[in-house]
């Protein structure tokens, strides 16, 4: 969370609010795909 806050603050100060939010949306989409196609899906299903 600290790293995210540092990165988000730096991006906001240099590029405004749009770019860090777009990057966060992309990161969430990648995370969702990783969850769907990766090993975490099977682990969550059986746990």
């Amino acid at each position: 969370m600290l790293l995210g806050a540092i990165g988000g603050a730096a991006l906001y100060l240099h590029k405004g609010a749009g770019l860090p939010l777009a990057i966060a949306a992309g990161l969430a989409a990648i995370t969702a795909m990783t969850l769907h196609f990766g090993r975490a899906s099977g682990f969550l299903a059986k746990s």
């Binding site: 969370m1 600290l2 790293l3 995210g4 806050a5 540092i6 990165g7 988000g8 603050a9 991006l11 906001y12 100060l13 405004g16 609010a17 749009g18 770019l19 860090p20 939010l21 777009a22 990057i23 966060a24 949306a25 992309g26 990161l27 969430a28 989409a29 990648i30 995370t31 969702a32 990783t34 969850l35 769907h36 990766g38 090993r39 975490a40 899906s41 099977g42 682990f43 969550l44 299903a45 746990s47």
Partner: protein, 224 residues
């Protein structure tokens, strides 16, 4: 030569003391499952995302948190006391939309049975909402005031409420601390149809016992 901390080779295999289980080098220690590590990576990514969202909301939206509701309650207290630079309206908007997101997450998790699918859909919703907030931020001239500010606050807080409610339901340890309290999203979830009331209390106790057992199993299988 046998190591000083290990059992001799001719000793009984089941006589190992419980204190030795914490050492990673022991062959009998359980190895971390790849699936658990994958879940941990996903949770780390979500935590990083929370930091980005909170940084943008606090710096760009006028001292309001949209993911960390503990901080938002403190900010709301500052604003209520009349401290300069804080807004009661913005903090209340974030808090109420977070609650609405928790209600939506509760509805979502009662309609779905698969834990993996539930989490994937919650993260997809989050990606969509955060992307919509990014579009609003790109289109507006400034997100520090006006309609754009409250629109972005509402979208982000709603998305974070959905995510926190769903992850709270999954019972993964360490991922329930974004609300004002670990149980803070439960009242919102209880507002959903079929929420906990009366005869559902017993089911809640069973679920808590199951979550505790799952948490113990999780901790026991992680590397030391």
């Amino acid at each position: 030569m046998a190591d000083a901390g290990n059992q001799p080779a001719d000793g009984p295999p089941t006589s190992r003391p419980p204190a030795d289980r914490s050492a990673r080098a022991q062959p009998a220690a359980p190895r971390a499952d790849q699936g658990q590590l994958a879940v941990l990576r996903i949770l780390l990514a979500l935590t990083l995302l929370s930091g980005v969202v909170d940084a943008v909301s606090y710096l760009g939206l006028g001292r309001v948190f949209t993911a960390n509701m503990t901080g938002n309650v403190v900010v709301l207290g500052f604003a209520a006391a009349g401290a300069p630079g804080f807004s009661v309206t913005a903090s209340l908007t974030s808090l109420l939309l977070f609650l609405a997101g928790a209600v939506t997450g509760g509805r979502l998790r009662r309609r779905m049975t698969g834990r993996s699918r539930l989490l994937a859909i919650a993260i997809c919703c989050e990606a969509g909402f955060v992307g919509a907030a990014a579009i609003v931020a790109f289109l507006a001239t400034s997100v520090a005031s006006g309609w754009a500010r409250y629109t972005v606050i509402a979208i982000l807080a709603f998305a974070m409420g959905i995510r926190n409610s769903v992850i709270r339901h999954l019972g993964i340890p360490g991922r329930h601390d974004h609300g004002p309290h670990p149980d803070a999203d439960r009242p919102g979830s209880r507002l959903a149809p079929g929420g906990r009331s009366g005869h559902r209390v017993r089911a809640t106790h069973c679920r808590r016992a199951r979550d505790a057992a799952r948490r113990d199993r999780w901790r026991g299988s992680l590397p030391a």
